[in-house]
């Protein structure tokens, strides 16, 4: 069993590059997936006896390519020949493996594999599902559990997403420098979607929570092939910092624990240190972007040994910068929270007012409003705001948290 667990990790690690290369050969997602699957089965049969090959990825690509070619030949006897383009590409694939792996193909293969999951026609949930299936190789059953749908429903969802991607045409031409950079943005956004799916899951669902670790793995992979991109460093740092708090965000009963009340000694120091190192690297580039700024904000929380030590005025400045880079009412709401810490609840409330229209349907807006009104002693209006928040809560834990706030309001006796 120990052997198999080890092989499983090796196959998972090799998957994006191997799948990317097989997709380039076969130009068809299903064929590439079947070829990779077949190569994995052979690895499980032969590696335990012979030991892992020196370069497992090259081994999987080579074996997968051969099995895919066999499959196409078998099918070809029963159906029409594949079109000329596919055939000529196969003969091209006979070229020396090692040379191909060392080439720049490698980077573009992985980027392409990730990029096709970000097609703008695909809704966010389909992008996430497709990435988890195609890039990460997570089983349909496990993805279905994470999304709380049946396996057949998830199977259908992924099949539909694949069809849509195929219909749009897979981008096989080697991208130029500009296209490469253009692809990075959507890919980074997709990875952050995967992370947030896991982050917002709450304490109870381990299948969803695992998505955070997977997103971090994908970001490291992307950073390894684009080592000089400050926004990818920022994204990785941001996710590491948020994930470092995973054991403290909920109490034993599954209730939300706010940042200031979390037990900071339980934050994952290793992840924090890695994130701070990445952020330092990113800042040297002097190209601030939304991920870097959000990571810098999270880093200020991570650097504060106690909640009281938090540098809120610096956080407020960073939210100002984020408002300029990435204007959105939600960012402004976060800035209002920082302002309340620096300049008090009354000033924060006056800045909250203009956001009301845009954020009226947003849980956090009413939660923040209730808390600020509570601080200024306006208990009646605070209750009203908290009531709105409960109505808009997206999970029982969120609703329970606001009820707790309401109870505190009562205790203060105002």
């Amino acid at each position: 069993m120990k052997d198999l667990a080890w092989i499983d990790l090796a196959l998972t690690a090799a998957r994006p590059q191997a799948m990317g290369a097989l997709l380039r050969y076969f130009r068809d997602l299903d064929t590439a997936e079947e070829a990779f699957q077949e190569a994995c089965l052979r690895a499980i049969r032969t590696w335990p006896d012979k030991g892992p090959p020196r370069d497992p990825t090259a081994w999987l690509i080579f074996v997968g390519r051969n099995s895919g070619v066999d499959q196409i030949r078998r099918t070809a006897r029963n159906t029409a020949l594949p079109d000329e383009e596919v055939l000529s590409d196969l003969s091209d694939a006979e070229a020396d493996m090692a040379e191909r792996l060392d080439g720049s193909h490698y980077r573009d293969d992985i980027l392409r594999l990730m990029f096709i999951c970000c097609h703008p026609d695909l809704p966010a949930t389909q992008q996430i599902a497709l990435a988890l299936r195609i890039v990460s190789g997570i089983s349909v059953a496990q993805i279905a559990r994470a999304f709380l749908v049946s396996e057949s429903a998830m199977e259908q969802r992924i099949t539909r997403a694949k069809a849509r991607v195929a219909k749009a045409g897979l981008p096989f031409e080697a991208p130029g420098a500009v296209e490469r950079t253009e692809r990075l943005g959507p890919v980074a956004a997709m990875i952050y979607l995967v992370f947030n799916e896991g982050y917002s899951a709450g304490a109870t669902n381990a299948d969803i929570a695992a998505l955070c670790g997977e997103a971090i793995r994908l970001a490291r992979l992307l950073l390894r092939i684009f080592p000089g991109e400050p926004e990818i460093m920022g994204l990785a740092a941001l996710m590491l910092l948020q994930h470092s708090r995973r054991d403290t965000r909920y109490d034993a009963a599954g209730q939300i624990v706010l940042l200031e009340e979390q037990d900071r000694s339980l934050w994952d120091r290793r992840q924090i240190e890695e994130a701070l190192a990445l952020l330092d690297k990113a800042i040297r580039h002097r190209q601030p972007g939304p991920y870097q700024v959000q990571a810098a904000i999270a880093a200020l929380h991570a650097r504060a040994a106690k909640a009281e030590d938090t540098d809120w005025s610096e956080i407020e400045l960073l939210y100002q910068l984020l408002e300029r880079l990435n204007p959105s009412p939600v960012v402004s709401l976060n800035r209002v929270v920082a302002i309340s810490k620096v300049r008090g609840a009354s000033e924060a409330l006056s800045m909250l007012e203009p956001l009301g229209e845009a954020l009226d349907g947003y849980f956090y807006f009413h939660g923040v409003k209730g808390a600020l009104l509570g601080q200024t002693g306006d208990t009646k209006e605070a209750r009203e705001a908290f009531g709105r928040a409960i109505a808009l809560a997206r999970s029982p834990a969120e609703a329970a948290h606001i009820r707790h706030e309401l109870d505190r309001l009562g205790e203060s006796g105002a």
């Binding site: 667990a5 080890w6 990790l9 690690a13 080592p227 890695e274």
Partner: protein
């Protein structure tokens, strides 16, 4: 002789370990180091962060170049190191074999004798 034992691994697998896998491997590795530590032969040990956290300063024509990423793009990256003070190379090899046996993530251990410059961390 002072040896650095340099552990090489595929970092994609090592940094994908679950908490439980990580704890199990570290437990076994600590057990291997225990006898050496008791004999006073074990120096500082460390794990390197992923190569994505690395920066390389490379000689340029004029100013040295600062490059994001590791010194070399390889399948196997330097993952961590042990420093030991043992009598013979055989002892260093035996120690490395034991480490290798309990760490499924490692691919190679390079045993490299080293000169000590600043044992207390000060050049003075």
């Amino acid at each position: 002789m002072l040896y650095a034992i340099l552990c090489y691994a595929n970092e994609e697998t090592v940094f994908a370990w679950s908490k439980e896998e990580e704890a199990a491997v570290m437990g076994r590795l600590n057990a291997v180091q225990e006898p050496l530590a008791r004999a006073g032969k074990l120096g500082p040990t460390g794990r390197l962060m992923p190569t994505t956290a690395a920066t390389t300063v490379r000689k340029g024509k004029d100013e040295p170049l600062v490059i994001d990423g590791p010194f070399a793009e390889t399948k196997e990256a330097l993952l961590g190191f042990y420093t030991i003070d043992v009598e013979t190379l055989d002892e260093a090899i035996a120690f490395s074999k034991e480490l290798s046996a309990v760490n499924p993530g490692s691919t190679s251990y390079e045993i490299r004798p080293f000169y000590v410059f600043h044992p207390k961390g000060s050049p003075a």
